[in-house]
Assembly symmetry: C2
Homo-oligomer: 447 residues x 2
Amino acid sequence: MEKEAILELLNESPMRVAELHSIFSEMNVVNIADIFKDENKETDLRIFRLLPKSIASEVFSYIDPDEQQMLIEALSDNEVRDIMSKLFVDDAVDLIEEMPADVVKRVLQNTQNEKRKIINQMLKYPEDSAGSIMTTEYVDLSEDATVNEAFDEIRKNGINKETIYTCYVIRRDRLLVGVVSAKTLMLSKQGDRIGDIMDAAVVSAHTTDDQELVTQQFKKYGLLAMPVVDTENRLVGIITVDDVVQIIEEENTEDFEKMSALKPSEEPYLKTGVFTQVRNRIVWLLFLMLSATITGGIIASFEDALAVLPVLIAFIPMLMDTGGNAGSQSSTLIIRGMALGEVGFKDIAVVLWREVRIGFLCGIILGFINFIRIYLTNGRNSLLAVTVTLSLMLTLMIAKSLGCFLPMVAKKLKVDPAIMAAPLITTIVDGASLWIYFVIAKMMFKL
Amino acid sequence: MEKEAILELLNESPMRVAELHSIFSEMNVVNIADIFKDENKETDLRIFRLLPKSIASEVFSYIDPDEQQMLIEALSDNEVRDIMSKLFVDDAVDLIEEMPADVVKRVLQNTQNEKRKIINQMLKYPEDSAGSIMTTEYVDLSEDATVNEAFDEIRKNGINKETIYTCYVIRRDRLLVGVVSAKTLMLSKQGDRIGDIMDAAVVSAHTTDDQELVTQQFKKYGLLAMPVVDTENRLVGIITVDDVVQIIEEENTEDFEKMSALKPSEEPYLKTGVFTQVRNRIVWLLFLMLSATITGGIIASFEDALAVLPVLIAFIPMLMDTGGNAGSQSSTLIIRGMALGEVGFKDIAVVLWREVRIGFLCGIILGFINFIRIYLTNGRNSLLAVTVTLSLMLTLMIAKSLGCFLPMVAKKLKVDPAIMAAPLITTIVDGASLWIYFVIAKMMFKL
């Protein structure tokens, strides 16, 4: 049902409570959460109070942080307690990470003791670690249980668990020993022992593993969920594929931003204020602007040559732009290849040799076209054409080599390779290419 | 178990068949597939023939295309038939799309009639459409069945289905009417009617929907699987989350490549030959090189001014680089925002007004620092400092506006906005900023 139609029903007098109630119970919770977007506190509160109790918490978990805060501030303590009791632990942690301090205080005061302890524990894990993204709601089975007992366990405890399609098999002390899918359970005989039908080859993460490693494992093995263990291999939580999909997009956004000289931000574009945007952009702009003055210095130092042969100036943009583009092509391919685990530091010699050859071939093609163009449009000045063409070819080889070399070295030095992308590579290649250009020009024209 | 250890066992004489067989049955199929990497035909064939029959097809589906081809060429017709009979339909389609014509012929000859028909049907869907990425293995239930009958159906047919965690409810003529999760089934009473416990709010895709739309729905609703229907809402297949994760990464890689002036390629970096790499890069490099000559022409047309005031040249790289960086920041944020569905064409006025203000503020900050630097290092030449600073501020505002405007217009015109990224924006902004610079310089210094 459309948002407009629902708001209309809401505003009729007397309000069509029963009708709205039944509409909400039929709707997808994500679509209900969408209704809250851009509405005022009053409307949000009225909609939320009309939701069937059984889905209210789930709807709440899909609402945008701004509106979540508005709602918490407007709801009674009892209502907040009700949300918190049904919210999955990972969603509760997300909520607390987004809210300002006073709201967090009120939320935690209205959270059951046991759950509050788990939340506080999870907040201690390093940011972007497996521990910080896991949830503690999962089904665990003893290896000595039977399939029948497993189903009883799922029916008894499973209804509040985030995923029941993968059950984890533990031994005493919560030691993780295997995994059994709901599919296997359904296809096994009732009396089968879990330890006999489980899969012992279980792919797990440690609480401190980086989320990037976790997403790579999900992709490699096509998982729906992954268990998280502590240093003694004891099961402490699971990570689910829906969260991994979000994380993959976050990591990609972060790479896109870093590769464009932006300070990464997790806020959507339209929700970020102008001043925050300026802050996210100005540092790199400033650094790169000051670096570019070095290139300016290189040009200035060849002022004499330029005074004698002013036509040289006209080719500066072409050399700078082509070098920057060629370098950014290589760095993007390598940064992306490393992010996807397709390329590693061990390949550096192979990659460099490839890029030198690619740079050489691109240089030949672009140089040839360039030579013809300059020769024809500059009074058949073959000396000038050779100077520009030679510079262009060398620029391409340098750009291609640096474009792959710098990100790989950065990775080796545990610096994020995404920093060694187009903007920085362009600035470095610019300086190098202009220096080469003027040196060649001075030799050619004996300046 | 490590790859090296397994290869050692394989090379012992007599070969430790029983031991290897039992090792393989314990291992994760993805890790087994990894063993095939970079081995010769002989070894690949020996490993494959040692695999337990029950997992051979699944292992095959995870092997790289090169090795898949090598294996098919080496295996007997009977063995190929065995693989094809157990391969999921979507994996079979992937295989056929990757193989050369003669291998495809042999594969299809050894595929069961029924399956071949389905494969041929799926090959007809447009590339990157929902129909081309779906699988036809799923569990469908009649709305009049009971929970008990549903379990019987899953046990009888489910073992070969790609996912059994979401069952689709159909009416006569295969009309899709709802969805019921394995969780709901497990938590319901045996006699409950499927039509009563199903969720009628089912999110589905049409066969011709673009895969980008499909991935957005998966992300929005946190789905594990999504049904695909034809124009008459009849269920024809499902898309599973593991494939969606792959597609998300493919779409991101495509955007990264387009945004760096690369022709997108689906091959991993190290598997793409040098000549193909040159082909993927040269078109944009050439186009942008020729465009940059326009900027060169702009400089050349102000040769007189430069002859009188050669110091102007030194600021060209700084203006060009800063303009390019500022433009690429904006275009990346907007392109990414549109890809994630956070920003749309309807926001164009809001976005433009934001970017103009951001450009103005960044301009003030960078301009101020720049003014001080030039004033101090160029003999307190305040006229020069004002010229460069004013040009810089205008450049930033133009770069920011074009950086958001061009991608949004491209999207509106149904051109991929990723093309309007750093390389093209930089080339355009370069010309504009240098023109502004020289016009201001001529006015200031009355040249």
